[in-house]
Symmetry: C2
Subunit: 419 residues, 2 copies
């Protein structure tokens, strides 16, 4: 297979299809998503057989059980894909929305209308369910999508694409609306990242290595999320019980995800009331605390001394960096230096300090008196999401359907010309 | 001078300043802009002396008179900078706007708030007035800005930055909010484009070569505008007189700019009524028509035969490509193939065809019955603009103050944790 040529053809077909997909009615798109869900259920056995080919190869290669777990299309993963399709079908269509129109002095009526981006390319790693999740969101937002999954999931991804193609074809939508790159050649990614004439947006999902590679190689705009180093700042005016509940939830409820707390900042005036009890609760849950000098001297054997690499570290594990700060300003400086613009929370009863924190802290979600774990499209009320952007262009925070669109200007005239 | 080190220091200073600039009140920012306008007027003679250094060097190098014209800080250019500063000071501040808040079932109140991007880097060519225009918009939107102008304008740019610094300092704003790169070494651009840790957005302004270079080299997101190949489609149901007025204005009012018409598409059923009279009007204005076969056979010596390179050409001159089309669908296909996603207009009296054109044509501005020349931030009612984006991420169309910001999520809780 000539990879360069294959990618060129895929990209051109996607661009051509994107004009049709952009103009589909909401009803047709939703019907296609619901039909995809049905076919997945109908063809579940076949899907598992195809998935088994990938799993067998992975076992033969001796890949880790965690890897094989992510690769498996279990009953649970399959129902969650089906449910996801039905949920997205039920979401409002962002395309065509006109948030505002205004009248110019010359009578020209001007507005912005929400339109699809065009062609989106997803580059992701081993989870094959991303194939359906991404295709579903892209199609609902009126885009064509090119999917490049992990090479170890190629049979699963092609099978899922086949199911989507059947639903597209039954709905009279061009099959090129959803394409899985049929080769596992790594060169395909390099070729995709050069197709700036056809592809409007690249979204990498996976480890930091993949994301950095895509961001540095691509000529096409990239929406990315490097890491989540989230903090809770326990203010001197915090309600101690609330602070304990929020910090515990932020760290322990699901420690391996990007919106879990990785650093806890505690105002010195509340440290004695808050930290020892909090530390005991963390200890019971198996959380290792790595503290600054003051923390260690207060907590004794409930904490170990943090090394310089612990500040700003994304542990994704039951480990927490703890720092006692002299002031809220010190917390601001710490977050600006070590945070990753993902999620930052304050616990306080003080109105003015809550306002300052919301204003001065730069993160995709800033919370007052709530867990960092709420940074998620579903939890914030956006519906399904395709990832969380920690860079500021186009999208900052969870990317839902709206973030897969843009707006163009429209103007209604009666013969206006410029003087 | 160690260029790498200089750029590193400038970038870090900008990032540090950006935290302060993001939190300035509207009153302080506006006062600084108005004071800059005053100082420009006070120091006009000195400014012209500094500009003369650049002009003398340019004359010595034998640069073209058009180039020297763009480099000159004439009385007219100086008053337009001053007026620009006053206009931007009078515009509403985008920072802090909360377009919408909503309540989640668990009582968490969630919203989006408009915030500055952080650090913006402008890379531009010979016009020194861009220094003030860009600094003014970036500051009003709460950003720090790094300005890299053309090497031939270095004295003028540093003088303008000096004036801005005086106003910043009098307003107690860090001078690093506005920095002009003090070296003309080309390596500085390469170094700037690597500072993705500090710079949030790069905006190149200038010729296509500069823009392509920046887009291909940068690791930082780039907002760009390659070219404006704009069309007017004269539908079979057009009002002939209106079509003539709109096409004439779109082509002739200012042919050297990106929103001028470069191609005119005429439905075959109106060609005889419209084209000959239109062609005579164009001829009187000195416009050369390059037509398809049908056009040439209809217009005879009022048009020459177009070559393949004329379709999709950005002439920026009194030259126009003319094509007779069999149907509106043919016009759609032509625009999709040869347009540049900048500005597209239809002239029609038919309601359904106007609706279809608005929906199906993909351009940053789509107009019905009005001149393409309206694609401009001021004309559309956005106030001043920093350029027109023809790519779809983040901004599509004129980029005003709002496009120099982003939104972050905020959430007000009462102790909510995730279950």
């Amino acid at each position: 297979m000539d990879v360069k040529k294959t990618i060129e053809e895929i990209s051109k077909r996607a661009k051509e299809a994107s004009r049709k997909v952009a103009n589909l009615s909401t009803a047709v798109k939703d019907q296609c998503l619901l039909r995809t869900a049905e076919i997945i259920e109908e063809k579940k056995d076949w899907l598992r057989e195809e998935n088994e080919k990938d799993l067998a190869a992975a076992r033969e290669k001796g890949l880790s059980s965690a890897f094989i777990d992510r690769l498996t299309l279990s009953d649970k993963v399959i129902s969650s894909m089906v449910q996801g399709l039905r949920e997205v079908a039920a979401l409002p269509d962002p395309v065509g929305e006109v948030p505002k129109m205004w009248l110019r002095p010359n009578g020209l009526q001007v507005g912005r209308v929400r339109v699809p981006l065009g062609v989106i390319c997803m580059i992701y790693e081993s989870r094959p369910n991303v194939t359906i999740d991404a295709a579903c969101l892209c199609l609902k937002a009126g885009n064509a999508v090119i999917l490049r999954g992990g090479s170890d999931a190629i049979h699963s991804n092609l099978a899922l694409a086949g199911i989507f193609h059947q639903a597209l074809s039954e709905s009279n939508i061009p099959e090129a609306a959803v394409q899985v790159v049929p080769t596992t050649d790594r060169e395909a990614v390099n070729e995709l990242l050069k197709r700036e004439e056809e592809i409007d947006l690249v979204i990498p999902r996976g480890g930091e290595g993949l994301i950095r590679f895509v961001a540095e190689t691509s000529r096409i705009p990239v929406l990315k999320h490097y890491k989540g180093v989230c903090h809770v700042y326990v203010d001197k005016y915090a309600d101690v019980e609330m602070a304990k509940a929020i910090c515990f939830n932020s760290k322990v409820q699901r420690p391996g995800v990007c919106n879990a707390m990785e650093g806890m900042l505690v105002h010195q005036e509340i440290a004695k009331d808050f930290l020892p009890a909090m530390a005991r609760q963390f200890k019971e849950a198996g959380v290792e605390l790595r503290g600054c000098k003051k923390t260690v001297s207060l907590l004794k054997d409930l904490a170990v001394a943090a090394g310089p690499e612990d500040w700003g570290q994304e542990f994704l594990d039951l480990i927490l960096a703890v720092r006692i700060v002299d002031s809220m300003e010190e917390a601001f400086d710490y977050i600006a230096r070590y945070g990753s613009n993902h999620t930052e929370a304050i616990v306080t009863k003080d109105y003015a300090r809550a306002r300052r924190f919301l204003k001065e802290v730069d993160a995709s979600l800033v919370l007052v008196n709530a867990s960092t774990r709420f940074n998620d499209g579903g939890q914030l009320g956006l519906g399904a999401e395709i990832g969380i952007s920690t860079t500021k262009l186009h999208a900052y925070g969870p990317m839902g359907l709206e973030e897969l669109t843009t707006t163009k200007f429209i103007a209604f005239g009666d013969g206006q010309v410029r003087e």
